[in-house]
Symmetry: C2
Subunit: 226 residues, 2 copies
DNA sequence: TAATCGTCCGAACGAACGTTCGGTAAAGGA
DNA sequence: TCCTTTACCGAACGTTCGTTCGGACGATTA
């Protein structure tokens, strides 16, 4: 969990902030992290709207009122879950792209990273995908900003690949189709039946890349029609 | 709307059923159909759990209590919407497959039918996709049965194509990837920006078919490894 | 004309919701 | 030792929820 989770709570905080809070900051963050994990499971199982704070109270073993010591609202809880998941997957992608130059390998790394994180944090990713439109205020705006940034990067990776191979295809349709293939996983993946992230990533990458590069092929060294 | 919607309501009905109900059956079904249309829009916009019967009352212009003359519960409303959408898309697919023999054309028709219906009934299909796990009782079991049947057919179409072309690939991953590409549309399609169903279907079919047939290719007339 | 039926409504029901209030008890610094 | 801060809780707040009750009123039937 990020270091600044402390800012999650905004009321009933000591007025003399910043003096000797440092001592128990770690405990606070760890405890909030545990609550977020339980909240992820509860939101995943019942859906955000159908899940109640009393469900979370039961799951954590903490009293209903006690929960509010760690965050200010149910919305903030969802915000923290979504933001953390998105930032982690984005950071992972950036790290793995460093020093990789081959356009096809870069797209393969995108798929690998996405599916690996998706399956390793299936519940959080379901909450991220499924409760996508729930947050309406500035929380929602912030999560949507990270999402746009992630989309922008992926679009760039696919564009680079198409340009390098002289392929013509709608980049928007291509990327959103790829996202569809990958994100839909949360509706069907069963760890006891289906392959692991590595195999799945290879198979989906094979379908997508062979498909895109094959379907969008045009005569060598010709120019676009306009 | 199907002819037997009347069975939607189960209480406060005349005990002497089946005698002279026939006279106003049409009006009842038409009115319920209008309510279902509004309910689809409300569930689509706010999500099933967040949508309230008072929202629906406002949308239809009918009183809260008056709504319950046409159905017995909010759950039944969702059930009727999901069942109707699924049955229609399934019937459309069956009709368009009749007399079509070429395996590739049959898969293309599946994609064409799916996307055409998806975009022509975007709101109903979002409710179908997004509120997939909401129904828990026998309503849910019934909708899930239709879904399994649809999945079974699609799996068969893809299997047939792979066999005809001597292609080896996990049929499950292939079909679920295809569903992902297609169903994810409800999260991004914008009629003012994106192409229509026909173009989209061709592009997705090109990516998927070129990808599957290319990536899964094996040496001609060789036998599977076991 | 009297009785019945189809259609719809105002008002209310109890339950569940997210959140807050006033407090307690242990820990820790002065 | 006293006093602040941290961590938490029982009980309740006001609101909204899905659903139902009893009845109204026009149309149809006997």
């Amino acid at each position: 969990m990020p270091a600044s989770l402390r800012t999650a709570v905004a009321y009933r905080r000591p007025r003399t902030l910043g003096r000797h809070i440092g001592g128990s900051r770690k405990r606070f963050d760890r405890r909030l992290g545990e609550i977020l994990d339980h909240a992820t499971a509860v939101f995943c199982d019942k859906g955000y709207e159908a899940a109640s704070m009393r469900d979370l109270s039961r799951a954590t073993g903490m009293s209903l009122a006690g929960l509010y010591y760690y965050f200010e609202s149910k919305e903030k809880l969802l915000y923290l879950i979504q933001k953390h998941a998105f930032e982690t997957i984005l950071a992972g992608l950036r790290r793995r792209l460093e020093g990789l130059r081959d356009p096809e390998q870069r797209v393969r790394v995108l798929i690998q990273n996405h599916l690996e994180y998706f399956l390793a944090n299936q519940r959080a990713m379901k909450v991220l995908s499924h409760e996508d439109e729930v947050l309406k205020n500035s929380y929602g705006a912030e999560v949507r900003a990270i999402k746009r940034e992630y989309y922008r990067i992926c679009l760039g990776l696919v564009e680079d690949l198409m340009r390098a191979r002289g392929v013509e295809f709608s980049d928007r349709i291509a990327v959103l189709s790829l996202f569809g293939m990958m994100n839909w996983i949360y509706t069907w993946h069963n760890p006891r039946v289906d392959a692991d992230a590595g195999v799945l990533a290879r198979q989906m990458a094979d379908i997508f890349l062979t498909g895109l590069l094959g379907a969008g092929k045009r005569k060598r060294s010709s120019r676009p029609t306009q």
